[in-house]
Amino acid sequence: MPAIGVYGVHKAFRIPHERHTTLTERILNVFRPPRYERFAALAGVDLEIEHGAFVGVIGRNGSGKSTLLKVIAGLLVPDAGCVRVEGSMCELLELGLGFSPELTVYENVTLYAAVLGYPRRAVQARVERAIAFAELGRFRDAKLKSLSTGMVMRLGFATALQADSDVILLDEILAVGDEEFQRKCVATFVEFRERRKTVVLVSHDLADVRRFCDRVVLFDAGRVVATGAPEEVIPRYLQLIGTAASAAVE
């Protein structure tokens, strides 16, 4: 059984022209026909990702990459079709979610660990390892607001990596911080690949995709256009951008 299975998934968003958020507005507008556009973010996506695969998802802006990630994560409910994920999952769509500047480094990591659903055993040890990985042991009891932005990013990333999930979803996040810390992140991902964890990376950075991914999925207009090895699919993508660019020129 694949690590991630996406079967016939459709997802459309309704983009209202005027948003009615209050009850009064709703009542006032009840006789007016609702005016909205349907935007099909995912128009029938079938995809299976094997255990231990490092998959890159590429495509133009608005082609449905992030929506796919959210559907796999379970944040969005598909309009049709189904998604299966085997094993534990960690989705990194944004770093340091739920971090509070008023809490200390240690308290923030414990909270984030609970959000990420660290396995109950060894929570404590992992929290310490995350702080050590972020190289913030010195600031363990300092409030987060006294840390630099880069340090906060490092902390968020380190905490997420320690979740040690079977399936990891990354949205444009592969490495943060300075050169040295980025190298550390990269080393971790190499290790993940060796430990046969499944990683899905949505990225515009083709160099990263070339470097890490053993399979690339190309998205366009809510559909999978091509999947295969990076050296086969990336040229297709460049071609796609090229046609779009030349069409824009004309």
Partner: protein
Amino acid sequence: MEVTRPLPAPELPAPRLGAIVDPTGVTWFGGQTHSFAGQAWLVIQFALKDFKIRYTSSALGYTWSVVNPLMFFGLYYVVFSVFMRFPITNYVSFLLLSVVLWNFFAEGSANGTAALVARADILGKMVLPRQVVVYAALLSAALTFLINLVVLLAVLWATGTRLGLPALCFPLLLFDLVALTLGTALLLSPLFVRFRDIGYLWNIALQAGFWMTPIIYSEDMIPPAWRYLFWCNPLARIVGDSRRAVVYGLWPGPRGLVITTLMALAVYAVGAATFRRLQARVVEHL
């Protein structure tokens, strides 16, 4: 290059715990999310951190959670006991107990209602069982409530009120209070995401509820023709029976207790069912 073709849909196993069954009938599986212990841990973490953040940058800190109800208690006491001279025995304990119970309901339901919106940043980007944030808001209010109960016990002792055997009913009444508050919060929080008016409406309802519920006055002061209003208000029943059991040392009627409990459980059931139905798509409206 592989050709992209539709994959045959796999046979789906029976939904396991944690799988979200959408009302449209599409069953869909996320990866293994939080276990029950993980959820409990998350509720505790959210509540503790929330409680801490709330009082962290104030000079008096946690004292504020006691000062606020005490101040209102003092105000009501002056107005209704010194100025208006309500003929109620042991009015100090009577009033303080009622105000503390009411405050938990008001704070818990208001915070619980706003909880989903308050945590929109996390809920929109991370998968967690969404009811966790509502439970955490309640637990945070419960921490304030516990501190207030300690003050209440001290006041009871200082005014010479001794707890008798009937006070054993109090835990059941507290359970009812929690079920009622939780049910209200679970019902209103997903609706609040869609209609922000709910927040204003609930504030008005709370203000009206404070005066319509016998909190500063006793239920005996209501003319008999209006008593039914008191009997069908679960909060009034909880407050009335608590006063009887804790302040006056009288046993509340067992039938009344059963009805109160059933009412509170019904509110919880309605709230939980509504929440379960609306939670899957709540993220799209945050």
